[in-house]
């Protein structure tokens, strides 16, 4: 056993170090590009950088040797990358002390990522077309705010309950949806989205079109997150608090998504997406698996909704209308169906783009639409497409198994 391990670790110390440095270099380059896109103000520079980044990614993807060269250190240095990415994410907002607007945009990016990952469980993994996802987002936001206002629940309890309530709504939509498929299912989801929107607009306890205001701030260690914080004698805007709050929940969401994707549940979701009849005849309880996708997706939408409500402090039905549903769907499709990284990339771009191009006013929605159309024409699988599952470390070390990695 020991001898085998020794043999596996044969590459010399230099190769080992080069690989580590390469992985770090790739991480720094890509996060540098992302950071510049997020922070820079000149919209043309931002546009140029975004186009360059996406073009570079597509170019790399089309060259198998280059792709392998870049992919190899990234795959082998997962631990190192995870630690450095965490450090970068924690440090990223610190230089933005005088720029609360960019911090705000980053908070919204985080919320969008949670939403997009939630929808991805349904649309990407399981193949359930959902055009009313904003309804779950709204249910979470309203549930959390009303619980906090009416019952003086703390934010931490409210967000959990809101997520559970949203998941229950997911179940409610999931059951009738089992009877329908494709276009019909898409219609059911639109109808559900509209129903929630109309109810929010007309019910007395949701405040009707006026929405809910004065949503209390989350408290952490007796400190309101609406208050500015001081770090090393410097005062930071309150958006920084929410940056870290959202980052915390995003990290939990990413971890859950990763575990689900690599579990049997993730595999069964994919099987149902690929062929329902074959999945049934393989022994998969298709109904249960689909309802689970509805509930899990809605659960994360509920988390996102609660975060949004307690961050902005005011919600109205307009925050959860059809446009929002379509935008989230756009993030998943553009980023890459069933790919966690892709979904996050899509959420990032589609949240940043409208903010950066505010000068274009109404034209920016046209521009966003155009970008999606172009993407789908030239890269229908999304920016970072789904990859074949790899069972690293789980494959037997047989001579006849294809182990071009390791």
């Amino acid at each position: 056993m020991g001898a085998v391990t020794m043999h596996d670790e044969s590459p010399g110390k230099t190769a080992y170090l080069t690989r580590k440095l390469a992985a770090l270099g790739i991480l720094l380059t890509s996060s540098g590009a992302v950071y510049a896109i997020a922070v820079l103000k000149n919209q043309w520079i931002v546009l140029g950088l975004s186009v360059l980044t996406v073009a570079a990614m597509i170019m790399i993807d089309r060259r198998p040797t280059l792709k392998r060269r870049i992919g190899e250190p990234l795959r082998q240095e997962r631990g190192l990358l995870l630690v450095s990415a965490t450090v970068l994410a924690l440090a990223a907002p610190l230089p933005l002390r005088g720029d609360p607007y960019t911090l705000h945009v980053l908070v919204m990016v985080g919320i969008s990522m949670i939403l997009a990952i939630g929808l991805n469980f349904q649309v990407g993994s399981t193949g359930i077309p959902n055009l009313g996802f904003a309804a779950f987002y709204g249910v979470g936001a309203y549930a959390s705010s009303l619980l906090a206002i009416r019952f003086q629940l703390s934010f931490w309890l409210a967000i959990l309950l809101a997520a559970a309530i949203a998941a229950f709504f997911g179940f409610l939509v999931g059951v009738p949806s089992l009877k329908t498929r494709t276009y019909h299912l898409a219609l059911v989801s639109i109808a559900f989205g509209l129903m929630v929107y109309i109810l929010l607009n007309n019910l007395a306890f949701t405040g009707g079109p006026n929405g809910v205001k004065d949503i209390p701030a989350p408290f952490l260690l007796g400190q309101s997150l609406f208050m500015s914080i001081r770090i090393f004698g410097l005062t930071y805007p309150m958006q920084l608090n929410f940056y870290y709050l959202v980052a915390f929940f995003l990290a939990l969401t990413l971890a859950a998504a990763h575990c689900l994707y690599h579990s049997k549940v993730g595999l069964f979701w994919n099987a149902v997406r690929e062929d329902e009849v074959a999945a049934k005849c393989s022994g998969i309880n298709v109904s249960a698996v689909k309802i689970l996708a509805f509930c899990v997706g809605a659960f994360f939408a509920g988390i996102a909704g609660s975060l949004y409500a307690h961050y902005i402090g005011y919600i109205s039905p307009e925050n959860f209308n059809m446009n929002v549903s379509l935008l989230i769907l756009g993030m998943v499709i553009m980023g890459g169906m069933d790919s966690i990284q892709g979904t996050c990339a899509g959420a990032f771009l589609l949240t940043i783009a409208p903010e950066k191009f505010r000068a274009l006013t109404d034209l920016r929605m046209v521009a966003a639409g155009l970008i999606i159309i172009l993407m789908l024409m030239f890269r229908p699988a999304g920016i970072i497409p789904q990859r074949i599952r790899e069972y690293r470390g789980l494959l037997p070390l047989g001579r006849d198994t294809d182990t071009d990695h390791e």
């Binding site: 549940v265 393989s282 198994t401």
Partner: protein, 259 residues
């Protein structure tokens, strides 16, 4: 002979005014290969769809290992040990070859969301055992498929698609395997390989019963122990291939005239 593992009695399936399957009865014994033949539209695939739970039978009983399984949901029937392939192969095209086989183990999987998140070590051990089993199964049908188990199932050749479908069905060690026209669209050399594969299933999974729908008579002649001939939903003959093929009623059903 031992007890049948699987039987249908007076199975009838009506769609509106059309009786697609009309009082069909047969029995399947362990280690037996039973072929269902008949002209197009005779109701062969309908029998499979009823047996696997995709349609609920209008009348009749389906018995498996001593209990009646009519009306059970398809996934429950699959979990009890009846697996099938499809006439137009239905693989999970965007998943890898290995993943297709792993899904096939769903019937035996004890999947549990809590364990998926909390006890990943247990799961990893289980998964690595499943993977080993899956690769072994793939290897016994095609060395090359075992080697390239990372390939997208959608990129396989028609012959390999068939093999993979059989592997996926066998992954959960079923008691009964239903093969729906496995030789459809294959050239003679692929068909010869397929015949070997069918016979291999029997040596690989001792005691398994196979029901085979097939148009290619050479396959039926060389593999089937018993042949059931369907025409317009009814059984018109049952017996060995030699007996059935000399039956005038069968010749008439196939050729339109008895020669």
């Amino acid at each position: 002979m031992s007890e049948p593992i699987f039987s249908v009695q007076d199975l009838t399936m009506r769609f509106g005014g059309l009786t697609a399957v009309d009082r069909v009865s047969f029995e399947l014994y362990p280690n037996q290969i039973l072929a269902v033949i008949g002209p197009n539209g005779a109701g062969k695939t309908t029998v499979f769809n009823v047996v696997t739970g995709l349609y609920a039978p209008s009348e009749g009983a389906i018995r498996f290992k001593g209990s009646t399984i009519n009306g059970l949901a398809p996934h429950l029937i699959a979990r009890r040990g009846i697996k099938r392939t499809f006439q137009q192969s239905r693989l999970f095209d965007n998943l890898s070859v290995l993943d297709n086989v792993l899904v096939g183990m769903a019937a035996t999987a004890r999947h549990n969301l809590g364990k998926a998140i909390l006890r990943r070590d247990l799961l990893a051990r289980e998964l690595s055992r499943d993977i080993e089993h899956a690769l072994e199964l793939l290897g016994s049908f095609s060395r090359e498929m075992r080697t390239s188990h990372r390939k997208r199932a959608g990129d396989l050749t028609p012959g390999d698609r068939r093999k993979l479908e059989i592997c996926r069905a066998l992954a959960s060690d079923p008691t009964v395997l239903l093969l729906d026209e496995p030789a459809a669209g294959m050239d003679p050399s692929e068909t010869a390989e397929l015949m070997e594969d069918i016979l291999k299933v029997r040596t690989l999974k001792h005691g398994i019963g196979i029901i085979l729908i097939e148009h290619d008579m050479s396959v039926v002649r060389q593999t089937a122990d018993v042949v059931v001939v369907l025409s317009y939903g009814k059984i018109i003959a049952t017996g060995s291939f030699a007996n059935v093929s000399s039956d005038p009623a069968v010749q008439e059903a196939y050729l339109g005239t008895s020669n």
